[in-house]
Subunit: 114 residues, 6 copies
């Protein structure tokens, strides 16, 4: 795992623990549901992670983009598949998504090297 | 084709003609590129239309959602696949997407009947 | 109930039935959770509906705004309270929210008359 | 004036009167400020209306887009200037803005004919 | 005050001074109006800050979320009230708000400790 | 050039190289089109950069705002023109844009000093 992804994942888990330690059942239910929708089903998990990636890109959330980029890498998405998914996010969401595309490409490059 | 989808498609084409009759090369190039990114490639066109559908849902654009719903129907997406893609858009984008989910489900139901 | 609100509510319920008739457990869970978070708790239901109203206004979703406006009216929110909540949405969300403020004020006026 | 623009302007004024009849000083101040920022200054009013048009386009608000399109037409913006401003909104905001570009081009065409 | 909140507040004030030193009356009026809408009125200031918090969360602005979290803490909002307000933002705005919820919970935890 | 702008520009170019080294023709075409729409035409390049600046502000993208602020500075935009453009973004986009206005004013001040 790249250093950047390692730090991101650890920080994400540390903060998730804080949120999930809260005494609020609805927050916990939302998080459980958020895991459930990405599970293998009629659509496979790889396709679902791609959907999450492009949704995160057009809504321009770096943490969400990084998370789904790591996930699709685990499903062995190729460079060509990754670029084509990103291109759709770029077309739909416009040039305002470009700074996020720059950053996720850096993450992608680092994940390939490590 | 359902009556609603027929009217939507005709109106969309009528207005597209107005836009594309403008004497502006960059507008035309953008439209051409917008067609290009959805073509079969490393990812197949069906997956790409699903990406367009979910991106449109989280950005809450009814016309865009309807368009991609019609397209994925042409690729014979099943009800289960459709629902799972919509569920991801709903989770990522939140309850603010529900009015759009109501309307696209109506379109989907009408397309199945006709 | 005003005619506009009556039509809105009936259409909303008709389309909700279509969505909830889908065979997808995650959609149903999301809808259940969406009801749960607005129930009386540490914050009372009236305050929660105001939170839903302002969140809907800054995200600019007419259906969501109308729904929460009907709900806060049921909790006997006064004109002054309504205007102050709307003003916060207007400040946070900017002039782009004004068309929605125009429309919800029309709904509000009609609800008061009927 | 085109029929569509005439109806839009009358409806807008009718609803503005409802909003401004509310007994809330902050709403009135916001509306006054919203007029003030578009007045001739270091930047001329025509440029400012173009800024309002493109901001409205990337935020995808049809009423706001129509309003500013009517205003820039009053400043005798040419077709070429209009198209170039729209192209920037399209690039920044992406294909999700296209349905709004379709509709404002229809308004623009109708304003030219009438 | 937690170290993070202290740094945030000082940086915010330093930059606000730069903005308010600009020779532009409309900027100053906007800032004055932005203070006015949160004052005690028909709705109390605590409720208004909660409205600001949830509006900031669904629009996903960390600085705005932190600011309103500090403010509601000053009004002695309890953990339960905070969680319920956050849950509404999460439902309305979707999982895309989760990274912001992680960060504001860290701020909240630090404010409680200090 | 200010130190902050220098670092921003170098990082932006470094990451752009990563993106443009990808083997995807549509990404490259989008980037080329993104350059094309800001060129002198019926509207001059200075006005177009102002349109890009305000569009970036209401969509709240710091990197995009910084980039266009640097560009309009190169076109010798005055303080008064800059403030008036920013004021329109603030009115349209609301107080949620203020953190970005704080940061771009810091950049602007630094560019003037260096």
């Amino acid at each position: 795992m790249s250093e950047r992804v390692k730090r991101f994942t650890e920080e994400r888990e540390r903060l998730n623990e804080i949120v999930l330690s809260r005494d609020n059942i609805n927050l916990k239910r939302f998080f459980a549901l958020d895991t459930a929708v990405y599970r293998d089903g009629a659509l496979d998990a790889k396709t679902k992670e791609l959907l999450g990636l492009v949704a995160s890109l057009v809504l321009r959330c770096d943490d969400c983009i990084t998370y789904h980029a790591v996930r699709v890498k685990e499903f062995n998405i190729t460079d060509e598949e990754f670029d084509e998914a990103i291109s759709i996010g770029l077309m739909v969401g416009g040039s305002i998504t470009i700074p996020h595309i720059r950053r996720v490409n850096q993450v992608w490059q680092e994940m390939k090297k490590s």
